[in-house]
Amino acid sequence: MQATYAASVPAGDYADDELLAKALSAREPGAFEFLLDRYHGQLLRLARQYVPSDAVADEVVQETWLAVIQGVDRFEHRSSLKTWLFRILLNTARTHGVKEKRSTPVAMTVDDDEPAVEPSRFRRFSLRGRGQWKVPPQPWSDPEMSALAGETLATIDAAIAKLTPDQQRVITLRDVLGCSAAEVCDLLELSDSNQRVLLHRARSKVRAAVEQKYAEGVQ
């Protein structure tokens, strides 16, 4: 039986969307396993931002996979396979989210009154130096950074968890899962500038968290 499942496309070529889609249409098990291996964790990450518990996230992702299976022959190359998967996940998660978690308003509001860096870290009263660093960022040295790598990742994860839901979704799609700005705007129905502001708030807070962690670490 094993022989009938032998993939006609070498696994390496699954990285190419077109070949992967073809292999999926031909029901090559290797192609689907490639999808599972590559995207299951990513889908879970995304799902967790929409639903209240890991258990529900698991459910959402399984439903997503079933929807992917049903829709696999309808994949059109208008987007990458990855964004196509993410879109199915988001649609599935939103229906669960509405049912099981207080829904967030569809129109995301961007709070513009959130400084990237504590205002007290800039000079305010010197006429010439106004707006310049008073407490500048301390250099992150590579060896110490690497020594703290595991902790740094945990710090980043925790910092992301503390962001507003819309900031979380944007930074996760952009920086964790590697989508482009255009893909994120499309997936989350955001304008260019809103996407950017949300990303900016998110990244600024994550940087600040790493800075703080690092300052504690080197003491």
Partner: protein
């Protein structure tokens, strides 16, 4: 606005737009002039880049493996869906 009017406090708000290539050319010129002059903002920029890079490494440490029975069930559904 002269180059000296561009301050660090503004840079930390513009940094993402700068990295995204979304700033108007005239502002990019101001930012570049400022960066050439300000080691602290260069450090800040480096930290933002580093932060993005490290954030991108998060999934490498994900250990969300799918339970075997779920995996088998999905694979079966996939193979049987070709009708």
């Amino acid at each position: 606005m002269s180059a000296t009017a561009y301050v660090c406090r503004q840079f930390v708000e513009d940094v993402t737009a700068y990295l995204e290539g979304a700033l108007p050319d005239a502002v990019v010129v101001l930012v570049d002039l400022h960066l050439a002059d300000c080691p602290h903002c260069r450090e800040y920029l480096a930290q933002m880049r580093r932060t993005v890079e490290m954030t991108g490494a998060l999934t490498e440490h994900d250990v969300d493996t799918m339970p075997d029975d779920v995996r088998r069930r999905l694979l079966r559904a996939f193979l049987e869906s070709d009708q």
